[in-house]
């Protein structure tokens, strides 16, 4: 393996890997999502039956993961755009990445109750 460079193995590379992985995951979700939404053209019962799976506790966890992927991809996407279009973007790319990560952590903490609350109520009663 070649020695470390300014890019390889550093923040820039890992944020790029994460951006790529989340982008691909979201695309696959969207494909399935348009198919499940299309069931509204079949019958209300068919649609409600599939949407019921979205409400189960395990799928709620997947939804939390989807929110995590989208929030990272969106925030880091804005960082990539800033690097490309803002004159000082490249100089501050590392600081911007840590800002992205901090914002992401805060938003993910905030999303716990709204996204997972109903699953917790179902599992533990109340």
């Amino acid at each position: 393996m070649p020695a470390g460079t300014l890019y390889r193995g550093r923040e820039g590379m890992w944020s790029w890997v994460a951006h790529r992985v989340t982008g691909v995951l979201i695309f696959f979700f969207l494909f399935v999502h348009v198919l499940d939404t299309a069931l509204v053209r079949v019958s209300p019962e068919a649609y409600d039956k599939v949407v019921a799976t979205y409400k189960s506790p395990i799928v709620a966890l997947l939804e939390y993961g989807l929110v995590a992927a989208i929030l990272f991809h969106a925030l880091n996407g804005l960082r990539v755009i800033a690097v490309d279009f803002w004159v000082k973007g490249a100089r501050y790319q590392k600081q911007m990445l840590w800002t992205v990560v901090a914002l992401w952590v805060v938003l993910m903490l905030g999303a716990i109750y709204p996204v997972l609350g109903h699953a917790a109520r179902e599992l533990f009663g109340s």
Binding site: V24, I26, T37, R41, P44, G77, L78, D84, V115
Partner: protein, 160 residues
């Protein structure tokens, strides 16, 4: 880099004197990127540049559309629990949300498909593999965009 010294006239210490004179001028070396009659015409236009720009412009719009969508579907008003046929019927009764969903569908699908095209180009090394993967990608993309558009435009709240 250079170990030999050069004088102002570009003559190294080994040569001693210039081999070129007025009657025997140095050959003219063409600039490397110079366009000549032999330069092939570019056939691809600036598609890659337009695609690059599209990723950034659609990204900015998608932040609003997708995060707004997630807020509505997963956070506000009871989160996922409220979703059902009646909920969708209520939302698509408004042209505003129809346009919102339509724009989100087209932008996210085209943005994602173009992103996946890059990923395929990066990892599929055999020309044949690339061709098939991209064929599959474009087929799935066109199908999904058409289906989603059709569903929004033909939605019928009184289907039963």
């Amino acid at each position: 880099m250079s170990t030999t010294e050069s004088t102002a006239s570009g003559i190294g210490p080994v040569e001693g004197a210039s081999v070129y004179t007025v009657d025997n001028p140095a050959p003219l070396i063409e600039a490397p990127r110079r366009r000549t009659k032999k330069t092939p015409k570019t056939t691809r236009g600036n598609f890659e540049m337009v695609a690059w720009l599209f990723m950034r412009l659609s990204g900015v719009v998608l932040v609003v559309l997708v995060i707004g969508h997630l807020l509505i579907q997963l956070v506000l008003d009871g989160g996922v629990s409220k979703i059902g046929f009646a909920f969708v019927a209520g939302r698509w009764a408004s042209p505003f949300w129809q346009v919102w969903d339509l724009l989100m569908l087209w932008l996210a699908m085209l943005h994602g498909a173009n992103g996946l095209r890059t990923v395929i180009n990066d990892y599929a090394e055999r020309a044949n593999t690339r061709l098939w993967l991209k064929g599959l990608l474009y087929t799935a993309t066109v199908f999904t965009i058409l289906l989603g558009t059709l569903v929004i435009f033909t939605f019928d709240p009184n289907i039963r």
